[in-house]
Symmetry: C2
Subunit: 174 residues, 2 copies
């Protein structure tokens, strides 16, 4: 599927409500459990998503749109959200994610049109990337973490499902 601004923002606009419907009020055994050392709980994923939402995607979009580029992006600290939101409840995190996403989509709507999707910025690892690649990565990043949350919760029941483990490979997915 080719990138389109309308299709990308349609998905970005839906992620916060989908995550809220899934996670708000859910028992902490689901939301605070991870997959073992070096993995994240759904609560930590929300901290990461919200921090990146505050500091990364829209920031990089505006850097690309600055005159005289291509300009470099700041590197991302994937775990900075853990300290930024230490002590926050899941409900407050979900609300903060919703709020920053809505504000970012408003800004995006004002700042970006199909005409500047080929403009370029400098990614710390990849070098030159286009605005449409950045915006597509924003969408896939949402889906990647939705997938991760589903998988991490499924694994809590790896033993509980007994013989169904054979038909439900998600509990053994890497």
């Amino acid at each position: 599927m080719e990138f389109s601004l309308d299709r990308a923002t349609a998905l970005l606009a839906r992620t916060p409500a989908s995550l809220s419907a899934l996670l708000a009020g859910l028992p902490e055994e689901w939301t605070m459990s991870d997959e073992g050392p070096g993995t994240w709980s759904p609560y930590q994923v929300l901290g990461h998503l919200t921090h990146i939402e505050e500091s990364d995607w829209m920031d990089r979009t505006l850097i690309i749109l600055q005159d005289g580029g291509p300009h470099p992006f700041e590197p991302v600290d994937r775990e900075a959200g853990f300290s930024r939101f230490a002590g926050w409840s899941m409900t407050d995190l979900l609300e903060r994610f919703r709020e920053v996403r809505a504000s970012n989509l408003e800004q995006l709507d004002e700042a970006v049109s199909e005409a500047n999707l080929t403009r370029v910025g400098l990614h710390p690892t990849f070098g030159e990337v286009t605005l449409d690649q950045l915006l597509a990565a924003w969408v896939v990043h949402d889906l990647n973490h939705l997938d991760q949350i589903a998988k991490t919760m499924a694994k809590q029941y790896a033993a509980a499902i007994g013989p169904w483990r054979e038909f439900l490979p998600i509990v053994d997915a890497p």
Copy 2:
């Protein structure tokens, strides 16, 4: 995590709204695209989920609870939802899923208590399974398909994300 009826139903109760928030009104390029031959689009996944919701989980629960068991379960036709809901809109499918899930959870609340979680039914492939294994599998089945929907949509942007493919393995996940 050990199985608990409260934790399982807390998750089961949230899936329909989470899927609705993600998929209702989303452009069809997202919801009708699959991953290639033999794979399902998010729309087809919803047909499957809704059919199984109508015919499988609660039905098997009630079979387990019948006196004089263990009694055998009917086999499941994983693709029967495709013809059952042929021509339905995504919105109507989401609404039907919500409605049947709500009704099933009401029935479950009336019929099942912690005391009968160890009762047994006969699965066509596995043989004897306990009620708590069936209910845990119901939860993981939801998460498995949420994961599948996220992955199928992410793959539509496998090319669009350019070099981010290295950081977003979901687009190349099996």
